[in-house]
């Protein structure tokens, strides 16, 4: 007994229908891609070390390229079709609307597959996601950037920002540590940072080689060489959890308020949108409430460090 | 035409398990022709000792990757008869349907994957995927249907999960049964196409008189249980399987040999056909006739055709079984039972022939003694003597070494031997 009167009509969802059924859709997500990625062309790949490469991407569609804007500290989900997607910090200048740069370490299966890609191939990105470093709030102060290993990747965006707005900041120090000299990333940019951006760069390695002329040891030892005006300093610390724990508690003892220190957390992620819950720390999502947190929040998050 | 020839095939390909063929001809005279199974023995009869009856079918199904349903059902039948358990009728129908699925799957696998390349002159099916894609797809469609029936009735294509003592643990849903029925109807053209193709092949002419053994229950083309009969007129009760097989050891083979009224006997599709052809469905009859297949046929190569005929029967009969399950609204699919001591044989017609499991249980329903006699075991002697006759004939006809080798391989394959099964 088929009676069409009782058959529920199917409501298909196209973009418009979707937008109209969620009142705040336009405000929040119009410019964001969630399920579908922005297609990007890999325009250049630089081998930084045998473990890290710098990928330069360009969003293919001009209109999408115009729309895509991000703030220093944010990340995106980089997708290699067939392999999967991974969260990666954006490592280029937020003012650069032509290209995106991602500094990627070969860590697992998606990143390994990425290492086999070549310029000309296409990948997808979703985002940008997450919180950012409060560059405006920092203005008028000294800035202390501390990076350990790959931690330099999320620091490049604020570095670019500082360079573009150099007059708004007083002293800017970058303390950068790695295991070995060969693992220091972006050494080709060191001169530029020092001379053009007027950033005081201090590098340190755990294991020096014959040519190494800078300091040797753990990153905290670099603090001996600089004086910090705790009242007027903001700090951004990126690196492995052990490192930022050490550094932040040191800075805490120096008297820098916890809400003026920023760290970027890392957790497993599958969506970037606060849904999959893989990145939850306490009741906080690393992907939408973070990855950038002030140290006060991190201290208050159970199981963050 | 005095000539020498020595053929030594180790680990015959495109059969299940490891077997060797050896032919030696000297001065135009056949000195030796042998079929030796060199499979590693697994000792299932020892393994089941002490196992609870409930678990036994899950173990014995692992005797064979192709006819696991038959093994499970042979054990179940032996144990149910030993402990006087009567499964509900609906469960019996599901089991019977499962046997149909397995047989179709196994026959399609043999006809298309294992035997067909011989006729086509290729080393295997993969080249045929490129040269005769339609034909291969036809075979795959038939095989898939067989698997789908097995999956629907037993939960999985290989190593059934829902065949249990006392019935079945889960019956296919009506929805699933309807889908199966549609699938059977849809795949009929594939079967007809395959039949048409096999008609174009030339089946070698070779006859060696032998005795064919199978089950017979007088009502249905045999799958589960019945009397043990032979084309030489022997009729025995299921429990008297030992007198039907008379297993004996030979020193060149890890699989045993059997005999009945003659030097050797055969089991399998051709044996079933020779003993039960009148119980075949209508279309199966027509197809058999179109190949000139009639009982008692003594050409072992015609086993391939008998398998094809059985595929037709399965198409017809599976549909009838599905109908009856669809009409049946009884929920009753499993009988509870109390373990007890007993002893009985369960005989089923596996795709390759009659399969016996004999089980003896103690008061707790644990197996104290088991004996399994596998169809391929019952065919070993027949293969062995076929090889002798075939090689002798071929030598006389002046065939080349390569031709003799190929014919010998083909005759062994036509039995669709399941060697790992025979060495269990």
């Amino acid at each position: 007994m088929h009676d069409m009167r009782f058959a529920i009509p199917r409501q298909d969802l196209n973009r418009e229908a979707f937008a109209s059924s969620i009142p705040e859709f336009n405000r929040r997500s119009d410019l964001m891609k969630t399920d579908m990625g922005y297609k990007c062309r890999i325009t250049n790949v630089v081998n930084l070390t045998d473990q890290e490469k710098l990928f330069q991407l360009r969003i293919v569609d001009p209109q999408e390229r115009r729309i895509f804007r991000f703030k220093p500290g944010q990340f995106l989900m980089l997708e290699l079709p067939g392999y999967g997607d991974v969260p990666i910090s954006i490592s280029s200048a937020s003012s650069n609307h032509e290209f995106l740069e991602l500094c990627i370490r070969k860590a697992g299966h998606v990143t390994s597959a990425l290492f086999r890609t070549e310029p000309g191939m296409h990948v997808a990105i979703r985002g940008p996601f997450g919180s950012s470093f409060p560059m405006d709030e920092m203005s008028g102060n000294n800035v202390l950037l501390v990076a350990g290993g790959l931690g330099i990747a999320p620091l490049r965006a604020p570095l670019f920002w500082i360079n573009e707005h150099r007059d708004r900041f007083h002293d800017v120090h970058l303390l950068y540590g790695a295991k070995e000299p060969s693992q220091l990333l972006f050494s080709y940019q060191f001169d530029e940072w020092k001379t053009i951006s007027h950033i005081r760069l201090h590098t340190i390695v755990e294991h020096a080689d014959a040519e190494w002329k800078e300091s040797t040891g753990m990153i905290t030892e670099l603090f001996r060489d600089i004086s910090i005006d705790a009242k007027h300093t903001y700090a951004i610390v990126c690196g492995p959890p052990v490192m930022f724990k050490f550094v932040c508690s040191y800075l805490d003892r120096l008297g820098i308020p916890m809400n003026r220190m920023f760290v970027s957390l890392e957790r497993r992620m599958h969506c970037g949108m606060g849904k999959c819950c893989r990145c939850m720390v306490g009741s906080t999502f690393t992907c939408i409430d973070g990855p950038v947190f002030d140290y006060w929040s991190v201290m208050n998050l159970k199981e963050a460090i | 035409m005095k000539r020498d020839c020595s053929i030594d095939i180790r680990h015959l390909t495109r059969v299940e398990g490891h077997g060797n063929i050896r032919i030696t001809v000297s001065g135009g005279k056949l000195l030796e022709a042998s079929w030796a199974v060199v499979e590693t023995p697994r000792f299932f009869e020892v393994m089941v000792k002490g196992m609870s009856a409930e678990r036994v079918p899950f173990l014995t199904s692992r005797i064979c990757g192709i006819c696991s349903i038959s093994h499970a059902l042979a054990s179940i039948r032996a144990l149910e008869r030993a402990m006087q358990v009567t499964p509900p009728p609906a469960a019996e129908t599901v089991r019977l349907l499962a046997m149909h699925g397995e047989t179709l799957q196994s026959h399609a696998l043999h006809l298309f994957f294992l035997a067909l390349p011989d006729f086509a002159g290729t080393p295997g099916i993969l080249p045929l995927l490129e040269s005769h894609p339609d034909l291969v797809r036809t075979g795959l469609e038939l095989k898939e249907l067989g698997n789908e029936i097995s999956i629907a009735t037993t939960g999985r294509a290989t190593h059934p999960v829902s065949l249990v003592l006392g019935g079945v643990s889960k019956a296919p849903s009506k929805q699933r049964l309807k889908e199966l029925k549609e699938m059977i109807v849809k795949r009929r053209p594939a079967l007809e196409m395959a039949t048409g193709f096999f008609r174009t092949l030339s089946i070698p002419e070779f006859v060696r008189e032998t005795e064919f053994i199978s089950l017979r229950n007088g009502k249905y083309y045999p799958f589960i249980g019945g009397d043990l009969v032979s084309t030489d007129g022997v009729v025995r009760d299921e429990n008297d399987y030992l007198q039907m097989t008379n297993e004996y050891l030979v020193d060149f083979s890890t699989s045993k040999f059997t005999r009945l009224s003659r030097q050797s006997s055969a089991a399998g599709a051709l044996a079933r056909f020779n003993n039960n052809s009148r119980l075949l469905g209508h279309r199966a009859h027509e197809v058999a006739a179109s190949f000139g297949l009639e009982p008692v046929c003594h050409n072992p190569f015609m086993n391939n055709i008998a398998q094809l005929v059985e595929c037709h029967h399965i198409f017809e009969n599976a549909e009838i079984l599905i109908e009856s399950l669809l009409d049946d609204d009884r929920q009753d699919i499993r009988t509870a039972y109390k373990p007890k001591a007993g002893e009985a044989t369960g005989a089923v017609e596996a795709p390759r022939g009659v399969l016996y499991h004999h089980m003896e249980t103690d008061d707790d329903g644990r197996v104290v003694k088991a004996d399994c006699i596998i169809p391929t075991t019952q065919n070993n002697a027949n293969i062995h003597y076929d090889l002798k006759a075939l090689a002798a004939e071929a030598v006389k006809e002046g065939k080349t070494d390569r031709e003799i080798e190929k014919l010998c391989e083909m005759v062994v394959r036509s039995y669709d031997p399941c060697i790992s099964c025979s060495v269990h």
Partner: protein, 252 residues
């Protein structure tokens, strides 16, 4: 190979079987609808069950079955020497499988029972990794073809070829099955690695653990569970021993 964006190479593939029922190899011929695509990923160098061709220049060897004779050990070592990747294929290869039940008896007893008076060689059953390094394990009795397809695709494309780390219960719940513990049975689902789509419990028979232990299982809690429900200990032992997959977790 085919994919227009990435370049892949076919796997130079060989399949071998030892003591077993060859049911796992048979799975290669299953899932007929995707069979053509599946085989186009492989450059089959040796595969006795389906082809008469035999070449020894394979890179990846799928090894099915357990080891129970000295000639098998030699063949296995030779395979290891040739193969860049050796895959233990199926429960027998990964854990010894049902064949291991033989090990409860003396070898002489076995021979006397089945081959009285014949000089048949047989050794206690051993798994593949007892003799050679195994690069990848695909458990299952038989292996699940869907999973095999996924893993072969991963091997070809260089993407993730891993097994689920969680237990069968996850997949069992996806199928909306009634838990067999609630039906008064012991099921090894909570400690067994998923990936089979809970095929046994969906057929309403208990999981016997053919896929071996899941990652980081809580075995003491499992034993406690069985005890609390008052279920039969010898049944548990029979189940745990069925595939020899829980060797590392003795009960009692």
């Amino acid at each position: 190979m085919k994919n227009p964006v990435y370049t892949f190479e076919k796997l130079k593939f060989a399949s071998f079987e030892f003591t077993c029922c060859e049911g796992c190899q048979l799975q290669f011929a299953n899932r007929e609808a995707s069979l053509e695509a599946f085989f186009s990923l492989l450059d089959v160098r040796t595969f006795r069950e389906i082809s008469s061709e035999k070449h020894d220049d394979y890179d990846i060897a799928f090894v099915e079955g357990s080891i129970s004779r000295s000639d098998e050990i030699e063949r296995l070592l030779a395979i290891r020497r040739q193969a860049k990747t050796l895959v233990a294929f199926g429960t027998c290869a990964c854990f010894g499988g049902v064949n291991s039940l033989k090990n409860c008896h003396s070898m002489d007893e076995c021979i006397a029972e089945v081959y009285p008076g014949l000089p048949v060689e047989t050794l206690p059953i051993r798994k593949i990794s007892d003799f050679v390094k195994v690069d990848l394990s695909i458990p299952g009795c038989p292996v699940a073809k869907k999973e095999v397809e996924r893993i072969v695709v991963s091997l070809v494309t260089g993407s993730l070829a891993t097994l689920p780390k969680y237990p069968v219960c996850v997949e069992c719940k996806e199928q909306l099955n009634t838990c067999l513990f609630d039906l008064g049975e012991i099921c090894l689902g909570p400690i067994t690695r998923a990936g089979c789509d809970a095929v046994c419990t969906t057929g309403k028979t208990p999981c016997l653990g053919c896929r071996g232990p899941a990652d980081d299982i809580n075995f003491p809690a499992f034993l406690e569970l069985v005890g609390e429900r008052g279920l039969n200990r010898s049944d548990l032992k029979e189940k745990l021993g069925f595939y020899n997959a829980f060797e590392a977790y003795p009960c009692q």
